[in-house]
């Protein structure tokens, strides 16, 4: 089963191999080349291919398109950028200055005919048409962060954020451009996957627009038999994997669930995103290096890569934080014991050197020494990983302790699950001075407001004054009030049931007492398995269950010849095995983790599901709150 990420890596590697078929010789002769990318290309390449791998593929130099570049003769240059006017202008300049020997131009999304002609004119003017070897449309306009997660944009993400879509004074043309960008990227996703999905979306919001446009685009491309991308001929299928089942694409709007992005989290990856700003699988941590002469503590920043090459991260990125702390301890113990073994070996070697009695002893020792020396790089690598995770985890722990994120998390879970007894009323938490900074309090209150049925006017005023005393910005609240009025609250009254936490019993606390992570004062919370609204919707659609919420979702099938009436959903279909969930307006790791848990829960049975989670951008709670406050400002 080739995942989306692997397919994207394959396409990139083929592009870097100058689009020649990769032959499997024993030692290939290196062909050196230069890689030039723009910001979008950089975002796409950086989580997928490391610099070492680039070197192995023969890339000697990698530079930004819009930087000053020096002429480097006799090497082919591979360009990987979007076909915008700016970029094409710069490429034209390069051709004029004759910087490189041959040019392979790869455009991330298809280039329009007009721009292609402009490029041809520029090439003619610079007299180097023969130097342009290949021009490719790559259809890779998305960023794969994990095997089953992708986002659309990272560096210019304000253009398609939740704020941009829901702004008050948005013009139709602007909306059109935003929708076009999103549809273009989704089209690239499906072109890379090579399948045509069945599309379902709710009615009446941005998701519906996206679904309609995507359906139209896919339909056009399928009809155009000359260069359709979805021809399934057996020769080109790698590995001969025939997927007779089509996946279902579920396009959702952020408005279906506003509480999850603001939620305080408890799993490792989601915490890293929330607290330490995990971007493109990379975290920048401050660590305490020592005391500077001025007497203050010196902080040094360190960038850590948290991606699929890190074995520990892949195993624990979805586990609750206390489990992660224990696992780090275990790894440390294992590492120490292997270190001890190596040291013992040294000691025993020293003793045996004096007696030269039996040959066998010496041969054993040389063999052991060889194996120890061979395993040294592995041990060093393990040590480096453990170090890195210790730094990251202790940074997160500091934040948790200072902002009391564990109490906030517990409380929010209770609110979201409508547990009847809230032993600490929200008023206390809001006025408690060390339970988080003003943003945390605002988040807590917004979740409470969204999930509770009705809050009377004077209660609301009391809370508002309490929040203002704590220093919070009240503008998101006005926006949420309006949203609540518009949304159909009746349907979403029991969206979050089933959640909640339970504290782990005393015994396990004693067991984990020996860990060097001093987790005193941090509760050892274990999340009960429950489904967020997004997961529930996915489950219903995949299993063809009928429910009040998903009943009036629209249905599009680009492969069918006539435009079907979307109210007739064929009922005699088997449940879908594969689903791609796309969230317009911003996604987050909490939903992703929930979907992963859901898939794992379903695996092993007769029907195993694959769910890919996509979002237009990734927002952590702070960024989302900022967008809400901007929207609230506009209302006034």
């Amino acid at each position: 089963m080739v995942t989306l990420r692997e397919k994207q890596i394959g396409a990139l590697k083929q592009m870097l191999n100058l689009n020649q078929p990769q032959t499997k010789t024993l030692a290939g002769e290196p062909v050196w080349k230069i890689l030039i990318y723009d910001r979008c290309g950089q975002d796409i390449i950086s989580p997928l291919v490391s610099i070492k791998e680039l070197r192995e593929l023969g890339v000697t130099l990698h530079v930004q398109l819009h930087s000053d570049r020096d002429p480097i003769p006799d090497v082919p240059a591979v360009y990987f950028c979007l076909p915008t006017e700016e970029n094409l202008g710069r490429i034209g300049q390069d051709l004029q200055n004759n910087l490189y020997d041959t040019y392979h131009l790869n455009f991330i999304s298809p280039i329009s005919r007009q721009r292609l002609e402009d490029l041809a004119a520029a090439a003619l003017q610079a007299n180097c048409v023969s130097q342009i070897q290949k021009v490719f449309d790559q259809y890779l306009n998305f960023i794969s962060l994990e095997d089953d997660m992708f986002i659309l944009k990272h560096q210019n993400s304000e253009a398609i954020s939740y704020y941009a879509i829901n702004r008050g004074e948005i013009k139709d043309t602007e909306m059109e451009t935003i929708m076009d960008t999103i549809v273009d990227s989704l089209f690239s996703v499906f072109a890379t996957l090579g399948t045509v999905p069945v599309i379902r979306s709710p009615r009446g919001n941005a998701a519906e627009m996206v679904a309609e446009k995507l359906d139209k685009k896919l339909r056009e491309n399928l009809r155009d038999t000359r260069n359709s991308l979805f021809l399934m001929d057996a020769a080109s299928q790698s590995g001969g994997h025939f997927n007779f089942q089509r996946p279902v694409l579920i396009v959702l709007d952020r408005n279906v669930d506003m509480a999850t992005p603001l939620h305080h989290t408890w799993t490792y990856q989601a915490l890293a995103h929330d607290v330490l700003d995990l971007t493109l699988n990379r975290v920048v941590v401050e660590e305490n290096v020592g005391r500077s002469p001025a007497g203050g503590a010196k902080m040094k920043t360190r960038a850590c890569d948290l991606d699929s090459r890190d074995r520990f991260w892949m195993a624990h990125k979805g586990s609750p934080f206390p489990t992660v702390a224990e696992a780090i301890q275990e790894e440390l113990e294992q590492y120490r014991s292997s270190e001890e073994e190596v040291k013992r070996l040294k000691a025993s070697m020293g003793i045996d050197n004096e007696s030269d009695a039996a040959f066998s002893m010496v041969t054993d020792n040389t063999a052991r020494l060889t194996s120890a020396v061979n395993s040294l790089p592995q041990l060093l690598d393990k040590k480096r990983l453990i170090d890195m995770h210790t730094t990251v985890a202790s940074a997160i722990l500091n934040y948790i302790k200072s902002r009391r994120l564990d109490t906030l998390f517990e409380f929010e879970e209770k609110v979201m699950s409508k547990a009847a007894n809230l032993d600490r009323s929200i008023m206390e938490l809001l006025t408690d001075s060390d339970a988080g900074n003003p943003e945390d309090k605002m988040r807590l209150f917004l979740i409470f407001y969204i999930c509770s049925h009705s809050v009377s006017k004077d209660e609301l005023d009391r809370y508002a004054t309490a929040l203002q005393n704590a220093g919070c910005d009240l503008q998101p609240l006005s926006y949420i009030k309006r949203w609540k009025a518009y949304a159909k609250m009746a349907a979403s009254s029991n969206q979050y049931v089933g959640g909640g936490t339970k504290t782990v019993g005393m015994f396990s606390k004693l067991v984990s007492q020996g860990s060097s992570f001093v987790m005193e004062g941090v509760k050892n919370l274990v999340i009960k398995r429950h489904n967020l609204p997004v997961t529930r919707i996915v489950d219903e659609i995949m299993e063809m269950k009928t429910s009040q919420e998903t009943e009036d979702y629209r249905y599009f099938d680009p492969k069918q010849l006539r435009v079907t009436d979307s109210s007739q959903i064929p009922r005699n279909r088997t449940p879908f095995q594969e689903a791609i969930v796309f969230m317009v307006g911003g996604g987050n790791y909490i939903e992703y983790q929930n979907l992963v848990d859901y898939t794992k829960g379903k695996a092993g049975g007769p029907t195993s599901k694959r769910v890919i989670y996509g979002a237009s951008t990734l927002n952590n709670a702070k960024q989302f709150l900022q967008q809400l406050s901007l929207l609230g400002q506009e209302l006034q």
Binding site: N19, L61, I72, T363
Partner: protein, 328 residues
């Protein structure tokens, strides 16, 4: 999706359009397009690369014949040991030349200058060429290792004893890690010891046979036969144990050489680090010396200042006293 053809079509249309509008076409005189002169660096780099590729092709071509040890059983191409030795020697020579060339190349290119990006590019090109050479050398050493292992297995099987199995196993393990540092003369010694032991066994057989041939009327007495047989067995055992020991020593030396290699690498790394540290320390001592100098000057100035201030105060007080006395 490849749209190169589309692009070329666009170029053609624009060219015809330009011609129709009468815009000058500067490209007319050139049919093949501009030919840029390849820089010296690239030419040299491509030469070295070509050599390594030739070596690789040569190795791969003869790989099948080289590794075919059951030549008497199949029709695939065969190779005698002499030919194999020739290939080994030739390949090693070429590898040494190539690595020497690369070193020379590095020294030369360090003297050239260019923009920062160009230098980085050249450095990366050299690294890539080096790693290519390393991978080709790996092919060669793997082949070599298989051959040696095979020879030892044959030797082990031709022996009649079973007690030395444990040594044999360790031997095989050590040899499976053997690298390019197996020297040729060790090879030859193994070969010669192969040849010598069968030969010696043959000789003893001939010796024992001879008396039986000469004494056609003289029957061998049972005691004599027994004595000769036991002598045979003894000699046989002695020689085998000798060869065993020699082989073990060889294997151990190979292992030690490997480990030495690893250690020298580490030591060289440390050496570089130590050099760096030494230069830093020198810089530090310089700085400290300067600092001391400056502190001394500061103290002196301080002292001088103090003297002046005291002098000034003294003078002022005397002036005051004088004025007081004078005004009175």
């Amino acid at each position: 999706m490849d749209i190169t053809t589309l692009f070329k079509a666009c170029v053609k249309t624009i060219r015809t359009r330009n011609r129709a509008f009468g815009v000058g076409d500067a490209d007319r005189s050139r049919i093949f397009g501009t030919r840029t002169q390849k820089s010296e660096f690239t030419i040299r780099a491509k030469e070295v690369l070509g050599q390594i590729t030739r070596l690789r092709d040569f190795l791969l071509e003869h790989r099948k014949a080289y590794l075919n040890f059951a030549s008497h059983l199949s029709d695939t191409p065969q190779m005698t040991d002499v030919e194999r030795d020739k290939i080994d020697l030739g390949a090693q020579r070429i590898m040494n030349t190539c690595s020497y060339l690369i070193q020379e190349f590095k020294k030369v290119s360090q003297k050239l200058d260019g923009s920062a990006q160009l230098l980085e590019h050249r450095q990366a090109v050299l690294d890539l060429v080096e790693s290519y050479l390393k991978s080709v050398c790996k092919i060669y050493s793997e082949q070599r290792a298989i051959r040696v292992k095979r020879a030892l297995e044959i030797q082990k099987m031709s022996k009649l004893e079973t007690e030395s199995k444990k040594y044999g196993e360790n031997f095989v393990i050590c040899n499976s890690n053997s690298e390019i540092f197996l020297k040729d003369h060790k090879e030859n010694r193994t070969q010669s010891s192969h040849n010598s032991s069968p030969r010696k066994v043959l000789e003893t057989n001939i010796i024992t046979d001879k008396p039986s041939l000469f004494s056609e009327d003289d029957q061998l007495s049972t005691e004599e036969m027994q004595m000769f047989e036991s002598e045979n067995a003894q000699l046989y055992n002695e020689l085998n144990s000798l060869t065993e020991e020699v082989k073990q020593i060889e294997s151990k030396v190979v292992c030690i050489a490997e480990l030495q290699e690893i250690f020298t690498e580490k030591v060289l790394q440390q050496d570089k680090d130590i050099d760096r540290i030494a230069s830093t320390v020198i810089g530090t001592t310089e700085n400290v010396k300067d600092a001391n100098e400056q502190i001394r000057q500061a103290i002196q100035r301080n002292a001088g200042l103090r003297v002046w201030i005291l002098f000034f105060l003294a003078v002022m007080s005397f002036t005051l006293l004088f004025l007081d006395w004078y005004n009175d």
